[in-house]
């Protein structure tokens, strides 16, 4: 048995389909369709037809019960070898990054030579379930031994039982939507409407510039006629954003500031990330873009109001950086997932707060200041949209490419690092460090 010490696990590339607003271009595409399309494009880009990948790990947040083996089904529908194992994972919006970390760790430990991480979500083709009363009655009828018994059981069904229950992403423990939760956090930190709109504007401008420059030529593959992210508004402006009415926090005492413009819309999409050891990359004539250096998960108690729902990364990142002895200055690029513009701003505000540093992080003072010119430089979820489980793969593949480009430009041995921070439902958060290869 090989007892190997950890070795670098590399991001070798990625592929996603352009993201589309829910109910739009991918309205009739299933999670399986979209994940397969993202996988097909990855296989085509890297010539992996017939290849046995060590493991493919992906997931979806909104999932049909028939998709219990979603990732394996996508592998079987792709040109990868049918002998490629696959795993489904689910960790709300952190799913994508979690699959990257899980596979990278296996590679680091010598358990895998290659992996494909990913995620997919369809808010359009979401499962609609029947109410609990109807469901129990149907199951009882199914268990009935005789026809009269079955009829008697079915006779219990009432018209109101037939109303379908649409999926909700509300927090089960509080009944509040994510937007309402974030509105409370936004108010607590006193984040202004203008600051949020500026984050949204920058996201659209940066993402549009990246598409225009061909940055996504080897990161995305057109699907069903969609060639760029459908939510992207290259011509938006502060004036247009300022004209939008608030949608969250309208019942709070403070003015409502969160609009459809500075919040992510429901989105359909899928992403994949190719990971491998240096040896596997070399054997396949692939260039490592960045190593997956480290990662940290955190959770906050939002149920009892101790912390905001989406604030877990504010804890994960300081722990991760402390473990590595790094500060924000040590990162060339920083990616903070834009669930809402205010999520980014409340996280930054927490790190800049003396009080938060002392009371929540047990530091002598504020944790640190993120240089804004390194933050989300190719746009993020406000512009691209946010198909929950697909966002992590979008960020990791894009950041790995950007870091690799920077390293090549700088032509020095200084490490070029990138930080990923993703908040998730359930008070969860994940952070990861990539280092350019």
């Amino acid at each position: 048995m090989r007892m190997s010490s950890p070795r670098p696990a590399y991001v070798l590339g990625g592929n996603r389909i352009p993201f589309a607003r829910a109910g739009g271009a991918y309205a009739h595409a299933s999670n399986l369709d979209m994940l397969t399309a993202a996988l097909d494009g990855l296989v085509a880009r890297f010539g992996l037809q017939g290849e046995v990948i060590g493991q493919v790990a992906a997931g979806a947040v909104l999932k049909h019960s028939r998709d219990f083996n979603l990732t394996r089904q996508a592998v079987l529908a792709s040109p990868l070898s049918a002998r490629t194992p696959a795993t489904d994972a689910q960790e709300a919006c952190a799913t994508g990054v979690e699959t990257v970390v899980a596979l990278a760790n296996k590679i680091a430990l010598g358990q895998l030579e290659s992996g494909v991480a990913g995620g997919v979500d369809s808010a359009s083709d979401a499962p609609i379930v029947v109410g609990d009363r109807l469901r129990r009655t149907l199951l009882d009828a199914n268990r009935a031994k005789t026809a009269p018994q079955r009829l008697a059981t079915l006779a219990r069904i009432r018209p109101k039982d037939l109303a379908p229950v649409a999926p909700r992403t509300d927090e089960p423990s509080t009944g509040l939507s994510m937007g309402e939760h974030q509105a409370i956090t936004t108010a607590r930190w006193g984040i202004s409407r203008e600051a949020q709109d500026e984050v949204a504007l920058a996201s659209h401008r940066h993402l549009a510039a990246a598409w225009d420059a061909g940055f996504f030529d080897d990161l995305a593959t057109a699907y069903q006629g969609v060639v760029r992210d459908g939510n992207l508004r290259p011509d938006t402006s502060l004036e247009k954003l300022a004209a939008l009415p608030p949608v969250f926090g309208k019942r709070l005492d403070t003015p409502a500031t969160m609009t459809a413009g500075n919040s992510t819309p429901l989105t359909d999409g899928a992403s994949t990330v190719l990971l491998g050891s240096a040896e596997w990359a070399a054997a396949h004539d692939l260039t490592p873009l960045a190593a997956v250096l480290d990662a940290e998960v955190a959770a906050v108690d939002f149920v009892h109001g101790e912390e905001g729902l989406l604030m877990a990364p504010a804890y994960a990142v300081p722990r991760l950086l402390a473990r590595r002895g790094l500060t924000f200055e040590d990162f060339a690029l920083i990616e903070i997932h834009e669930a809402f513009a205010s999520t980014v701003l409340t996280t930054l505000a927490a790190w800049e707060s003396d009080d938060f540093g002392r009371t929540r992080l047990a530091l002598p003072g504020a944790f640190g200041v993120v240089p804004r010119d390194r933050l989300n430089v190719h746009g993020s979820s406000l512009a691209a949209g946010h198909p929950f489980a697909a966002t992590g793969g979008r960020i990791v593949a894009m950041l790995a490419k950007a870091l690799h480009q920077l390293k090549a430009q700088r032509a020095s041995d200084e490490p070029v690092r990138g930080l990923v921070s993703v908040c998730a439902a359930g008070g969860l958060g994940i952070a990861a460090i990539l280092e350019a290869a």
Binding site: G41, A44, G47, P79, D217, A220, V227
Partner: protein, 457 residues
């Protein structure tokens, strides 16, 4: 794309009706499948002199070689027309003629076989080019072959074709490119090539170890590979053994993915008009596949407009995509010093660029430009055993021609000796032939794949 008329006249009642009315009766063309015999029937080799003997030895010799012939094709070869024999192919070697009088004997002997030529038969002349330095009678005899062949091809029916190989002075008829040209024209790979005289300019090139996989070990880039002719070019190059890099614009990514996965190649999304397109193609091919040997410039667009109504945008975009982009890519590849292993550049011209087409001044300028570009690029590649050539498709059944008005399309299909449109695979076979190692002796030429379209040469 379907051709309902062709299907009709090849059905029982339809065939009888068409015959009675004297309507065109196009025959379904036989096409190449790996493992097929080169020809299915005896081959008649006519003409006198050592070249005719050499060709006969090549065709009849045993596989693996003997008597100084490196590799024979093991065909049933006759040197004189047997009465009542139905030949699959007739090869008329006319390199020795020095006076038009000498054409009569071989040509009339060939004539006696034509009515019995098998379905999809082949008539191929092998001759020398007429030069200004030749004696007048020699030049007359040689140029006469040109007129003879083009007229003969128009007589053939049943999917048979007539083509010629014109071997430059001093180049043996057994030079790799001459041998490969002869084999291509004999085979079903050339189903829609008709009435063409293909020049062999030098003895450059190398015979393949396996005629079914001449591109084994070669890395080929195909632009515009997401659909249409480009997608089929990728298929055929892969079938012939090449590793294929499929290039198209990101907007065509979904189709490109399907093609790349189908041919076990890689997809490279880029806009060929980008300044760094050549560098990115080269980087991808060398880093991922260890080299670059074949570049097929297939990507092209049409923006048809009468010249009187032409806009700058329509003119400029067609010229930029169809010809300027490939000039820039070729320049970058040549400057890189990486394109040095018997490289092959094959560009997509068009019969519009030869004969002209109303409403296509911009397109014809770009396609004519390609014909000039390969002529001038080939000598630059010669020091590395390389060459550049073009293929000029005529009417090919694609999505593009499917959009033509129905009647125009029906007429356009019949305006060639084979009385039908070609298939994308016919163009792809010609590309694969010019991309193959033995084609090195074909220097800067344009091969028409048009079923002998009535317009142009």
């Amino acid at each position: 794309m379907g051709d309902a008329y062709l299907d009709l006249v090849n059905s029982g009642a339809g065939a009888a009706l068409a015959k009675r009315l004297g309507l065109p009766r196009p025959a379904p063309l036989l096409r190449h499948h790996p493992g097929d015999p080169l020809v299915d029937g005896p081959v008649l080799v006519l003409g006198g002199g050592p070249d005719a003997d050499a060709v006969a030895r090549l065709l009849s010799g045993p596989p693996g070689g003997s008597d100084g012939v490196p590799d024979g094709w093991d065909l049933d070869v006759h040197r004189h027309a047997a009465p009542d024999e139905r030949y699959a192919a007739v090869v008329v070697v006319l390199t020795a003629v020095t006076h038009p009088d000498q054409l009569a004997a071989p040509v009339l002997e060939a004539a006696s076989t034509l009515r019995g030529l098998r379905r999809g038969g082949r008539v191929i002349t092998v001759s020398r080019p007429a030069l200004a330095t030749d004696a007048p009678a020699v030049a007359a005899a040689r140029q006469g072959v040109d007129g003879l062949l083009r007229s003969l091809a128009k007589e053939l029916r049943g999917g048979a074709t007539g083509n010629g190989v014109v071997v430059a002075a001093g180049v043996p008829v057994t030079a790799p490119a001459a041998v490969a040209a002869l084999r291509f024209l004999l085979s079903r790979r050339s189903a829609f090539v008709d009435g063409q005289l293909l020049d062999v300019d030098s003895d450059a090139g190398e015979l393949p170890a396996d005629w079914d996989r001449p591109l084994a070990g070669r890395v080929a880039v195909v632009t515009g590979a997401a659909r249409g002719i480009g997608a089929v070019v990728a298929d055929v190059l892969a079938r012939d053994g090449a590793t294929v890099v499929c290039v198209d614009v990101p907007a065509a990514g979904e189709g490109l993915t399907a093609v790349a996965n189908r041919v076990n190649g890689t997809a490279l999304q880029l806009d060929i008009t980008a300044p760094d397109a050549g560098a990115r193609i080269l980087e991808h091919a060398t880093s991922r596949h260890g080299g670059l040997h074949v570049v097929v410039h297939n990507a092209g667009i049409t923006r048809d407009k009468l010249l009187a109504n032409m806009t700058a945008e329509k003119w400029e975009s067609v010229l930029a995509v169809n010809v300027a982009a490939q000039l820039a890519i070729n320049e970058a590849l040549l400057a890189s010093g990486e394109l040095v292993d018997a490289p092959r550049i094959v560009a997509m011209a068009s019969t519009s660029g030869i004969a002209g087409n109303r409403g296509q001044t911009n397109y014809a300028a770009s396609k004519g430009g390609i014909i000039g570009a390969v002529r001038a690029t080939a000598p630059l590649l010669a020091p590395f055993g390389g060459t550049a050539n073009a293929v000029a498709p005529g009417f090919i059944e694609t999505d593009m021609t499917a959009r033509m008005p129905a009647l125009t399309r029906q007429v356009a299909r019949r305006l060639n000796s084979l009385q039908q449109g070609g298939q994308p695979v016919d163009v792809a076979e010609a590309v694969a032939f010019l991309a193959s190692p033995p084609a090195g002796g074909i220097v800067g030429r344009t091969l028409r794949v048009c079923g002998q379209n009535m317009v142009g040469r």
